[in-house]
Amino acid sequence: MTRELPYIAAINEAIHLEMARDETVLYYGQQIATTENDEFLKAFGHQRVRVTPISETAEIGMAVGAALAGYRPVVELYMAEFMLVAMDQVVNEAPRMRYMSGGQVSVPLVLKAGYGFTAGWSGQHTGSIYSMFTGVPGLKVALPATAADAKGLMATAIRDDNPVCFFHHYLLTLEPGEVPEGEYLVPFGQAAIRRSGTDVTIVATGWMVGKALAVAESLAAEGIEAEVIDPRTLEPLDTETILASVAKTGHVVLVDQATRHGSAAAIIAAEIAEHGFSSLMAPVTQVTALDATIPYSEPMEAYVLPDEAKIAAAVRGVLGMAPAPAD
């Protein structure tokens, strides 16, 4: 049984279900449970649900310590950038502890943070910084693009015995979607084929998935069938599914809200260039944000972001088609 839920509600449902299922799951962070009316507080009490000061290094570092001591903390961080003041805890503490102990300990925790809030939030609150967390052995990274995945990936993240960065997209916050009721897990490392096609592979994450699908639909009118793939997790990355698609289409466009040299697109492009080379019939083309801090003013903000026109142009480019007629 599924029913429609907004993306953010789906995430909360997963946390709620996991807390009910496993009393070692904790949920804390800033601005939560400041009154007795809080749903999590009512259900799980003051010890497992706590508001914290603005102290990300302590918040995340305490999650590492609580995890070492047998709990499964979910830390509410609001925005991915707020993790930057505590970056050592995220990339140099949590993922290293198990390894350095020779497997004696494990550090199960979830860092929940939104990203990509390109809606006038200007230069410091709008980043798509997930690629700073990839290539860190011991750390996993999830990027849900739908309400169902938001629920399923969060549940999987909480049950995972490793530290997981769960990055939800701010612009999808109220996006509704069909979400399964009850226990629902989406496995890590399994990309979703959002649309199948034979002519070109478009890989996109988060907010970009919807744009890629829109472009695919419009191109279908011209007889072009694009396959749209959403990796869903960057660590582990489902290179297999992507390579299988490229083997079929021979053409690939990578869409990423991040900048070119700070993107997941570059990592995926590198995998394709090495392991999918023989099937490539055209350049591996990236559509990313321009190299600028995100500006406040709307026309400038729109200018630096990937959009449907840029994606469509890139697809036409790899397929050697004429640019779309200007309308």
């Binding site: 800033q30 601005q31 400041t34 009154t35 508001v51 914290t52 000061p53 603005i54 102290s55 990300e56 290094t57 950038e81 707020f82 930057l84 003041v85 809606a119 006038g120 939030w121 200007s122 230069g123 410091q124 609150h125 701010y170 612009l171 999808l172 916050t173 109220l174 321009l290 190299d291 600028a292 801090t293 500006p295 406040y296 003013s297 709307e298 026309p299 400038m300 903000e301 729109a302 200018y303 630096v304």
Partner: protein
């Protein structure tokens, strides 16, 4: 330290009123001109006395840095409200050309070096500017503004230790408005929870710490002037806790594009259902209070006060009109200023 004379006191009242009226117009913009303000906007209404009292203690050459809640300071420093409003509206004539917006005002020519939207991160910036001032050796002092919540960010402790150790010419102004978004200070601060003042934090840095009534611009001015004088004389930094009350919610609602933005009720009402607290704060509103005080003391005539009010309203109406008329930046301008 010189006490502000009558004309200075009237000037201070005018500045308080200018901040209040400006913030009112920013807030009204959400209803009157839906969509012109994007993202997240934070208002200084309630903190006018603290801001004006602090800036009034500055001398030419002094500098300040602040947070995302930054509209008030440049107004007192002399930045054109037109330019600030245009920035908040994302226009080409904005103070920062529409690149920064409400959270990132900056007017280096007037000593306002900038802000950080990341809590606590501007504190080391101000400390570094004070290090620069110490090297330059021209008696400059730097004012560092931040909130009660920010004092729990590691950057606060790291910076105050160095400033005290190096005797840097900086005054740390902790604007304690009792809230960090929807969290009350006793819920997140060990001092507040224990009934201590937040200024005791200074003890950890062998630094003087004082708590002042942020509703009284003169009291704030005196505390700031004393701290600034000590800093100027090589006596090092001071932590000044200024007790204020934010009269608006933390900021406008946080929502994706499409959802019209607006300011909700203050958290005391909206979240904690504590109408009394909010009403009490309203009764103690520092702006009318200071007007009353100046009028009673015969420093300000009622007519003169109304006159100032009219001038300020006209000034801020002009700022709104200017901002609305200002063009948007060219889209391609987005790739400028990335590198120097």
């Amino acid at each position: 330290m010189t006490e502000p004379d009558s004309s200075r006191l009237v000037w201070m009242y005018r500045q308080m009123l200018r901040i209040r009226e400006f913030e009112e117009r920013v807030k009204r913009s959400f209803e009157e001109h839906p969509g012109v303000i994007r993202g997240h906007t934070h208002l200084a209404d309630g903190a006018e006395a603290s801001i004006v009292g602090s800036v009034a203690a500055m001398r030419p050459g002094d500098q300040l840095l602040a947070t995302y809640r930054c509209h008030g300071y440049p107004i007192v420093l002399g930045t054109e409200p037109k330019a600030i409003m245009a920035e908040i509206y994302g226009r080409a004539d904005g103070l920062c050309g529409g690149y920064g917006g409400s959270m990132h005002l900056c007017d280096p020519a007037r000593g306002f070096l900038g802000t950080s939207g990341i809590v606590g991160q501007g504190i080391p910036h101000a400390t570094g500017a004070a290090y620069a001032a110490q090297i330059r050796g021209q008696g400059q002092v730097v004012l560092c503004f931040f909130g009660d919540g920010a004092s729990k960010q590691g950057a606060f402790a790291e910076s105050l230790n160095i400033a005290s150790l190096w005797k840097l010419p900086v005054v740390y102004v902790l604007e304690n408005n009792s809230y960090n978004v929807v969290t009350r200070v006793e819920q997140e601060d060990a001092n507040a929870a224990a009934g201590d003042q937040l200024s005791v934090k200074a003890r950890a840095f062998s630094m003087p710490g004082v708590t002042v009534d942020g509703k009284d611009p003169v009291a704030v001015h005196d505390a700031m002037a004393e701290a600034a004088a000590r800093a100027r004389d090589g006596g090092g930094p001071t932590l000044v806790e200024s007790l204020v009350y934010r009269l608006s919610a933390h900021g406008n609602i946080i929502a994706p594009p499409g959802v019209p933005l607006h300011f909700p009720e203050h958290e005391a009402i909206e979240v904690f259902g504590n109408l009394e607290e909010y009403e009490a704060a309203k009764r103690n509103d520092p702006v009318p209070a200071f007007r009353g005080r100046l009028v009673t003391q015969g420093i300000l005539g009622p007519g003169q006060a109304d006159q100032i009010g009219a001038e300020v309203r006209a000034e801020m109406q002009a700022a709104v009109d200017f901002a609305l008329a200002s063009p948007y930046p060219a889209a391609e301008a987005a790739v400028s200023y990335v590198y120097a």
